[in-house]
Symmetry: C3
Subunit: 439 residues, 3 copies
């Protein structure tokens, strides 16, 4: 077939192969379709994580005494608002503007850097709309702040709380996040692995909460001089349960969206497996928290069981993809046990954590992060340890300093009289449940 | 290369170019893939808006006194049911069957007009399943009705309320909606711009609520002869907070879905930006409502702060896409301030709005609509004014007449004795919280 | 054009046609895009159904007396956990491993059988990620268990309840489900049709609940010797309403996801129509339950109205796709009427169903299943009858035996003293609402 060597035919051969490749490629997902899938994943998972703010609000409203239930509600809705505004003004670029292997990005307001709305020519080479990514990262930032509000409920004034939230969401969390997700030193130098943020989100929130609990001190009347602890039961177990369910729901977005892409068969398989591992780690957390409390105290502790779900979820968050289902169940089960075991330990240390956020988010965040190398060969125990310690030191110290500065300037606590009367009436002039008599 | 001129080769050239174009086109999103994306957007955003019915129910249940909490719950679930049925029987075709530049469509039951289920040959030229569009528009109709129930709670009987809902969702809202979204005179002649319904949904609901509040009158004992106002605090701030969070969540569907398409990179970018603007307008609404109430009254008003979120959301709804983030924050912030400032004004006018729907939905709806031309060059202040006034006159007058007819026929209010005893017991024979003593 | 017969030209013709087909095919949805759509449908609908667990929890927490509200909360979160673990360990393969026309699958732990994460070459011939299917089926299994907890609330101990849940979710439900969805005898031999599980999920749960109510007996003091019935009003109508709304939301996932595919225009149309039918059947259920109770008892029964929504939803679940909207409204309306009519019948039979799950899930499940042939020509009344009866016998008998074995081994009920004091305090050592005085 000598004619094949003629230039015209060679042109046709080139032409035909090109068309063939283009046509066959169609059996896969086109670049723009991938872009839409990836963007939509961020938006759907983002609204699930956004709703976690309501979950924290209900968990905390149900866990405080009724005289402080309205106060914790306004804290939760205003912290979510503050987080969004600060992550726009400062946080995002501080987090993602860090140099490779670096420590901190620059200060600038975030703006969408891709495709302007109304642009004639779409440019989807980035893989997703940068706005959808911002939205998804923003709700993570807000989650970090939500963790804090519960621990230090029932004694902290609203404005110093919001100033702390401003520091946490505008600076502390973005700096820590940049070390890993922004490509900073933990990512570049230590191969630190934290898929969806057991350390970066949950431990950071936990350390901030712990520092707050120490600086602010316990609720008046909680720890008695004779060493006994007065029980301050939460005002509504059903609302706390609703909160736990909403958090569980939101966590599918939290971990699933952290795959960061939906636009291929492999990505969709990964997200499916993440959903399963996330769900069964939480399930194991509940069951093992129940069993542990039954064995230790002779009865199921409902509050511990709810926190067991959260502990299991936090534990699997560092690596929800690599584990087999059995491994995920193991990781979540240990999370549930840790919640059941460390909750009373905190009381012995006279740390007054109103909702048990420190056992669930901090302890299980460390556990989940440290166990990553068991199932993910790209991570090392040393690298994970460096990550945990680095975040611990920075988040705790920065929080401690911020709380302390606030304490000695504008003050943190309401007066003892106001605390005993309840913050709803004394700080906000209303009652959460004005018609229900207090026993 | 003379052989190119031979007919056979020309055929191949044509053939090759066709295949090449078809192959390259594949780099974008195919028509059917677009169809699926657009349809799924309506369904996902639609279920988010559907859930706003639960948000209104919780906001209102938390805002009424406990003796009327069950009554407001049944009103909310039955108004959502009524809206769906009426929008099917009458509303949709009344709204979307309007002639270009016209005033009202015709009376007919809606049926899907595209692709029948089971059809052999898909026809996706319409861009989305017409059923998904109906579903999305239906939940908007229901939202309009949800706005009304809160304002006139605690004194209105159930059946007249449902008859009004029938008129509102079957006629008033669809007629107003048709003027713009159905291609009627506001759209065709005035270039009125209302992206997701600050005026068409929220102000319409607000006018209907205002008319109702005037015709029905205030709750017994609310306004005293000496000019003072008796405070009727809501029964559960946590439920009201949950309601606000659910509304916030649902608003991502409300505004995001109003892009009406997901199936291209540009659409997905637009929806991402809408999510961001929606979120930060609400955040600014909360913070500026808090700051305003702190400055005016010396303390943060929690109810005003929750309504500040809604005010910010309503304000950005008329144009959530065009504004820069900074402009969205400004629009939402003014919304929050307006809620804080107009809530006491209503009391001076002796209008008894139980949940503050008029400041949040009506006042902020007008604000959001009138500010559209600041960021969207296709809109004019004159056109926006015409839209606001047209809707105001029709929605208020039609509602006023409907309420008045109901008042002088079957009656609107429960008796004073029944009102004082609470509608839960007197109208429904149960209590919302039968075991909790009233203070 | 004799040159066309030359081998080289024939090669080019083949080549060109191949490219042309590949290119044109691009106008539709590529195989991998379909795979992603289908997988994402399972995940999104799955998280909606997952959230139904919270809906059941709130409906039940609002329907029990406050002294048992915490107990029902822990039951709901632990049953969801148990269901997930058991469906992984046993249930899924028991259900989907059944031979064609067979009765029961084998015992083995489920593992993803397609595309391993990290595989180099995607294989998307299955149509969706098997993990997403597992997740979706798992939440259905959990729903079955959720139905049971409400009926037998306020007297059943936690651990026997969880053991029953283990049997139900690991064995009873999977066996029943395998008969139809696993390709067993109901599917192969009787053309039984149950789109999303009116019988397989809701009736199975209803039969298990009925067996439990009979074996366990009524709450102490409920049925008096003189034949009168003591009313035990639920502790929170707002929480019950929230639960009904969450269930309604989740049902879009329940029925919509049961289309099992999103990746074509036809599938997306089908899901849209399912959303509409599901919504309006529920709406009709609410309205006709309200009207029926108004006519029968002279007032709207709020609890019946909430269950009317559920009854309408259950009724349309057997066939949410084939009916016209009018037919869906009819099916849902009858569901609502059945709830209103059968709720008092249960009391006459001295069956103590705390939340009314038997009228809503069992009665309406039978109704919805039996009416399928009216709109779906592929189903027969005989085939439906065989399915209903087969499930009735197996689910009731297996449940009855399980409850009975538990009763005579570890025991089911708390003591009468503990029951009267409330399970929250006696079994769990806390109160759901510790600060609210009981009337």
């Amino acid at each position: 077939m000598s004619f094949i060597k003629k230039p015209g035919f060679q042109f046709f051969i080139f032409f035909g192969i090109f068309a063939l490749i283009a046509g066959i490629a169609h059996a896969e997902v086109s670049a723009e379709t991938q872009y839409v899938f990836n963007t939509f994943l961020f938006l759907v998972c983002g609204f699930l994580v956004m709703f976690m703010a309501a979950g924290f609000a209900m968990l905390e409203a149900g866990s405080v005494r009724s005289k402080n239930a309205a106060a914790i509600c306004i804290k939760n809705i205003s912290l979510y608002s503050t987080a969004g505004l600060l992550y726009w003004l400062v946080g995002y670029n501080l987090m993602y503007g860090v140099d490779e292997g670096g420590f901190v990005g620059g200060l600038s307001v975030w703006t969408a850097d891709d495709l302007a709305v109304g642009a004639e020519t779409p440019d989807y080479s980035g893989g997703y709309a940068s706005g959808s990514d911002w939205y998804f990262q923003m709700v993570f930032c807000a989650t970090t702040a939500s963790i804090v509000s519960g621990t230090i409920a029932e004694r902290l004034k609203i404005w110093p709380f919001l100033i702390f939230t401003l520091v946490l969401t505008g600076f502390i969390y973005p700096i820590v996040g940049g070390w890993e997700w922004g490509g900073g030193f933990l990512d570049a130098n230590f191969a630190f692995s934290d898929f969806a943020g057991s350390t970066l989100v949950h431990s950071t929130g936990g350390w901030a909460a712990l520092a707050g609990a120490i600086v602010i001190g316990s609720r008046t009347g909680r720890f008695n001089e004779d060493g006994s602890v007065t029980s301050f039961p939460g005002s509504s177990i059903p609302l706390a349960t609703l909160g736990a369910f909403i958090l569980w729901l939101g966590w599918f977005g939290f971990n699933g969206g952290s795959q960061l892409a939906l636009g291929s068969a492999l990505d969709s398989v990964a997200i499916s497996n993440i959903f399963i591992n996330t769900n069964l780690a939480a399930a194991a957390g509940v069951m093992f928290a129940m069993i542990t409390s039954q064995l230790l105290y002779g009865k199921v502790d409902i509050v511990v069981a709810l926190n067991g779900a959260i502990g299991g979820l936090v534990a699997i968050t560092a690596e929800p993809l690599a584990p087999s289902i059995g491994a995920a169940v193991f990781i979540g089960a240990v999370g549930g046990i840790l919640v059941a075991v460390t909750t009373p330990l905190l009381l012995k240390m006279k740390i007054d954590d109103v909702v048990g956020a420190i056992p669930a988010h901090l302890v299980c965040g460390i556990w989940g992060t440290m166990i990553v190398p068991l199932t993910n060969g790209d991570a090392s125990y040393f690298g994970q340890f460096v990550g945990v310690i680095s975040v611990a030191i920075f988040a705790f110290v920065a929080s401690f300093i911020t709380w302390t500065v606030l304490k000695y300037t504008i003050g943190l606590r309401v007066t003892v009289e106001d605390e005993l009367a309840g913050m709803d009436v004394t700080e906000f002039g209303l009652e959460a449940y004005p018609e229900f008599s207090k026993s």
